[in-house]
C-alpha cells in the first residue's frame, strides 16, 4: 500500500505515522522542502526554538516526560552542530530522540559547500546510530528504523541526515511495519535461571539494598509499579541515582534518598556496608561509586541492565542479568511470590536499625535563617506548595540541581527531567518547554541557577510564542555555585571567573520577553511569592535571591569512599579535605 511522494513529504508522513505530535526545530536552507511539507498539514505541530541546542533539549524533555520519542528538525552545518550538545546529552542519559538534519545536495557533499558539515561523521560519537540518506528509495525504511532504534533496547538519539535533493526526489512511501531489524535485536527477556539465582540471593540477604536508576524509568510506568511491589514484599531499603528519582516514591517508607556524591548519608553508608546490592537499570557511574577500590567492599552484587556493555564496565558484579528492567522485575516479583520467599526478618530488622541511626544524622539538614533565603529552604517550600498538583520539574546543572534532587520528593516516574550524565547547563528551560507542550495542563517548573539559565535564555521567546506557561525558578546566588564550591574545596577559595558579574535584572528581562517576573529575597515573603508564580496563568521568571555562600552538602569529596562524606555539620575548613590525588578528579 505504497504511495508516491517527495522525500520531504515522506518525512512529515513518517512523523505522523510514528505518532509525533510536536517537532522541535529551526528552519534553514537545507531543510526548506521539509518545512514546506509541514506547512500543508496540522497533525504535527512544529515548535520553533531560538537555538538548535534548545530543540534537542526540548525534545528530551518531551521524551523523558512522556516515554515517547522526541523529534527534532534542524538544518545543515550550524543547525546540526548546534544540536550536538543535546544529542550527546540524550546519549548519556538514554533518552529516545530522532533528529532530522538537512544536508547539502548529494553532488555537493565533500566540496565544503555553504553550510556543509560532515554531520554523520560529527554525530557518530554522540548518537546511538546515524544515517546519511543517499537515495530516495532508502528514506522510508530509514525513517521508521530510526524511530525503532531510538526507542528500543537502551534508548538513545538517532540522526537522519537528508540531502536537499533527496528531499525533492519522489518515490514510494510505505507506513511502518513491525518487521524485525536486520542486526539490532536488544534482549528484553532475561534468562530465568539467573532470575532464580537473584531471588535466592535476595531471600538470604541480611543487609540488602536496592540501587535503581534511569533504566527503571525508561522501562515504563509498569516497571515502577513492579519496583514498588518488590520493595513492599521484601521490605528492602531502596536508593536511586539522579536519573532514577520518582520510580520509587520520595515519601515511601523504604526510601533512603538519592545516593552518590551529593546523596544522603544513609544511602551511601548502606551502599558501603550492605551484603547484597541489587542494581536495577543503573550503571555504576563515577558520581555514584566514588572511590572504586573502596566501593561497597563486602557485598555480593547483582546487576540488571538492558545493555550488556554496562555490566562489569567499572564494577565487577557477581550476577549479571541482561534484560529490560520491567520484564526482569516482573519475573522477580512473580517468582518471589510463587515460591513464597521470606526474608531474614531478624537480620533485616537489625539492618533497618542501623540505617535509622544513619538517618538520624539528617544529612540533608542545613542552618535555617530568618533573614536570607537558604536555597534548600526555597526548594522545600516549592515542594510543599506544588506537591498536590501534577507537577513536572526540570533543572539546569549545578548546586540548584543537587538541592532539587535532595529536597524535592518525586512520587511518580517521568516527572523529573535533568541532565545527569553530560551535566549540560542550559538544559532545563528548553526541557521544561518540551515537557509543558506534552502536558499542557500540568505545572512545569525549571529549577535553575542564575548562571545556567543564561545559557539558553533565548528559549523564553519559544515559551512565549507557544503559550507554554513554564515557571523558571532561579536560585540566584550570583555565583556558578558548584564551581565556587569546588574552588573553595580545591583551590584555596580563589574564585576564578565563577562570580556571575553583570547579571541582567531578571524581572525586567521577563517583562522584555512578555512574561511575568517575580523577585523575592525575604524568607517571610517566599510562600506568597511562590504561590503568585503558581497561580499566574502564563510563563514566569522567578528571581529567588538566596544565600550566596551556601555549599551543597553532604558530599563525597572526590577520591573518597562512600563512608567518607562531608556532612552539613562539618565545622573544619573544607579546603583541607581533599588530597592531591583527589584534586585531579572532576
Amino acid at each position: 500500500m505504497s504511495k508516491i511522494m517527495t522525500g520531504a513529504e515522506m518525512v512529515v508522513q513518517a512523523l505522523q505515522d510514528q505518532g509525533v505530535t510536536h517537532l522541535f526545530g529551526y528552519p534553514g536552507g537545507a531543510v526548506l522542502p521539509i518545512y514546506d511539507a509541514l506547512f500543508h498539514q496540522d497533525k504535527v505541530q512544529h515548535v520553533l526554538v531560538r537555538h538548535e541546542q534548545g530543540a534537542a533539549h526540548a525534545a528530551e524533555g518531551y521524551a523523558r516526560s512522556t516515554g515517547k520519542v522526541g523529534a527534532v528538525l534542524v538544518t545543515s552545518g550550524p543547525g546540526a552542530t548546534n544540536a550536538i550538545t543535546g544529542l550527546t546529552d540524550a546519549l548519556m542519559d538514554s533518552i529516545p530522540v530522532v533528529c532530522i538534519t538537512g544536508q547539502v545536495p548529494t553532488h555537493l557533499i565533500g566540496s565544503d559547500a555553504f553550510q556543509e558539515c560532515d554531520t554523520v561523521g560529527l554525530t557518530r560519537h554522540c548518537t546511538k546510530h546515524n544515517y546519511l540518506v543517499r537515495k530516495i528509495e532508502d528514506l522510508p525504511r530509514i525513517l521508521h528504523e530510526a524511530f525503532y532504534i531510538a526507542r528500543s533496547g537502551r534508548p538513545g538519539p538517532v540522526v537522519i541526515d537528508i540531502p536537499k535533493d533527496v528531499q525533492f526526489a519522489s518515490g514510494p512511501y510505505a507506513p511502518p511495519k513491525n518487521a524485525q531489524h536486520k542486526t539490532y535485536h536488544p534482549r528484553v527477556k532475561a534468562d530465568i535461571g539467573k532470575i532464580k539465582q537473584a531471588v535466592a540471593m535476595m531471600a538470604k540477604a541480611k543487609k540488602p539494598i536496592l540501587y535503581t536508576g534511569g533504566g527503571v524509568v525508561n522501562a515504563g510506568p509498569a516497571a515502577s509499579t513492579l519496583l514498588r511491589e518488590l520493595v513492599q514484599q521484601t521490605n528492602f531499603p531502596i536508593t536511586s541515582t539522579l536519573m532514577g528519582l520518582g520510580a520509587y516514591p520520595g515519601s515511601g517508607p523504604n526510601w533512603l534518598g538519592m545516593l552518590g556524591m551529593h546523596g544522603s548519608y544513609e544511602a551511601n553508608n548502606a551502599m558501603h556496608d550492605c551484603d547484597l546490592m541489587v542494581c536495577i537499570g543503573a550503571r555504576f557511574d563515577d558520581r555514584i561509586t566514588g572511590r572504586l577500590d573502596a566501593f561497597s567492599p563486602g557485598s555480593k552484587k547483582i546487576h540488571i541492565d538492558i545493555d550488556p556493555s554496562s555490566i562489569n564496565k567499572t564494577v565487577m558484579v557477581d550476577l549479571a542479568i541482561v534484560g529490560d528492567c520491567g520484564h526482569v522485575l516482573e519475573d522477580i516479583v512473580r517468582l518471589w511470590r510463587a515460591e513464597a520467599h521470606q526474608t531474614d526478618a531478624k537480620a533485616l530488622g537489625a539492618w533497618w536499625a542501623q540505617i535509622d541511626k544513619w538517618r538520624a544524622r539528617k544529612s540533608f539538614g542545613y542552618k535555617k535563617s530568618d533573614t536570607t533565603i537558604k536555597p534548600q529552604y526555597a526548594i522545600e517550600r516549592l515542594y510543599e506548595l506544588t506537591k498536590d498538583r501534577k507537577t513536572y520539574i526540570t533543572t539546569e546543572v549545578g548546586q540548584h540541581q543537587m538541592w532539587a534532587a535532595q529536597h524535592y520528593k518525586f512520587e511518580e516516574p517521568n516527572r523529573w527531567m535533568t541532565s545527569g550524565g553530560l551535566g549540560t547547563m542550559g538544559y532545563g528551560l528548553p526541557a521544561a518547554i518540551g515537557t509543558q507542550l506534552a502536558h499542557p495542563d500540568a505545572l512545569v517548573i525549571d529549577i535553575a541557577g542564575e548562571a545556567s539559565i543564561l545559557m539558553n535564555i533565548q528559549e523564553l521567546s519559544t515559551a512565549k510564542q507557544f503559550l507554554a506557561p513554564v515557571k523558571v525558578f532561579i536560585l540566584n546566588n550570583e555565583y556558578m555555585g558548584m564551581v565556587r564550591q569546588w574552588q573553595e574545596l580545591l583551590h584555596g577559595g580563589r574564585y576564578s571567573s565563577s562570580y556571575s558579574e553583570a547579571l541582567p535584572d531578571f524581572v525586567k528581562l521577563a517583562e522584555a520577553y512578555g512574561m511575568k517576573g517575580i523577585r523575592c529575597s525575604d524568607p517571610k515573603n517566599l510562600d506568597a511569592a511562590i504561590q503568585e508564580m503558581i497561580d499566574y496563568p502564563g510563563a514566569v521568571l522567578f528571581d529567588c535571591l538566596v544565600d550566596k555562600a551556601e555549599n551543597c552538602l553532604p558530599m563525597i569529596p572526590s577520591g573518597k569512599a562512600h563512608n567518607d562524606m562531608i556532612l552539613p555539620d562539618f565545622e573544619e575548613d573544607i579546603g583541607k579535605v581533599i588530597d592531591d590525588k583527589g584534586k585531579m578528579l572532576v
Partner: protein, 183 residues
C-alpha cells in the same frame, strides 16, 4: 610523583586483573558506508588498543564484511570491547576467537631487501627456509612475499634487517575458527 599516583581513583582497577592479553576479534558487519569508521572510532574514543585491523567484503550478496581486530588489554577490558562493539547497530556478530583458542590466523607481508653479492645469497637462503616467495627482483633488490602467523613474519623481518631491509608492507591478521562451524 610516580605513574601509579597519577592514576585516578575513579578509574582504579578495583576487581580487575593485572593480566595483559592479546585477543583476536572477528566482527561481522553490514558492508555500508561508515561502518569501519564506527568500529575504529569506538576504539579511539574509548582508549582501546588496535594492534592490527583488516577488513574486506566476505559475502557480496548479503552485503557482509568481516573485520578482524587484534587488540590487547586486561581480559575484562577485552570483554568490554566486545560488548561495546555489539552496541554498534550494523554489526551482526562479534566473536572473540582467542577465548577458546581454536582458530588459525595468517598475515601476508611484502618485504623489500636491498643488497649485492653474499648478502643477496643469504637473503635467498633465509627466504627459502621461511618459504617466502620472490615476487620482484632487480640486480640489487628482492621483494619477498611471506604468509604466516605474525610471529613468523616478525622473525623473518628481523633476519632481513642486517642484510639490507628497505621496507615492509603487512596486511594485518585475518583469522577463522577451526572445525566445521562458522563464527
Amino acid at each position: 610523583m610516580n605513574a601509579q599516583a597519577a592514576l585516578s581513583p575513579y578509574s582504579s582497577s578495583a576487581g580487575k586483573t593485572e593480566r595483559h592479553e592479546t585477543h583476536v576479534l572477528s566482527v561481522l558487519v553490514d558492508n555500508e558506508p561508515g561502518v569501519l569508521a564506527r568500529v575504529v572510532g569506538l576504539f579511539s574514543g574509548r582508549g582501546y588498543n588496535i594492534e592490527s585491523l583488516t577488513v574486506a567484503e566476505v559475502a557480496h550478496l548479503q552485503g557482509l564484511s568481516r573485520i578482524t581486530v587484534v587488540t590487547s588489554g586486561a581480559p575484562e577490558t577485552i570483554e568490554q570491547i566486545s560488548h561495546q562493539l555489539e552496541r554498534i547497530v550494523p554489526i551482526h556478530r562479534v566473536t572473540d576467537l582467542s577465548l577458546d583458542n581454536a582458530f588459525v590466523q595468517r598475515e601476508l607481508a611484502m618485504i623489500k631487501v636491498r643488497g649485492k653479492g653474499e648478502a643477496r645469497t643469504e637473503a635467498l637462503r633465509l627466504a627459502e627456509a621461511f618459504r617466502a616467495r620472490v615476487i620482484d627482483a632487480t640486480t640489487e633488490s628482492f621483494i619477498f612475499e611471506l604468509t604466516g602467523a605474525p610471529k613468523k613474519i616478525d622473525d623473518f623481518v628481523e633476519l632481513m634487517r642486517p642484510i639490507g631491509l628497505v621496507e615492509v608492507s603487512r596486511t594485518g591478521v585475518a583469522a577463522i575458527t577451526r572445525g566445521p562451524q562458522a563464527m
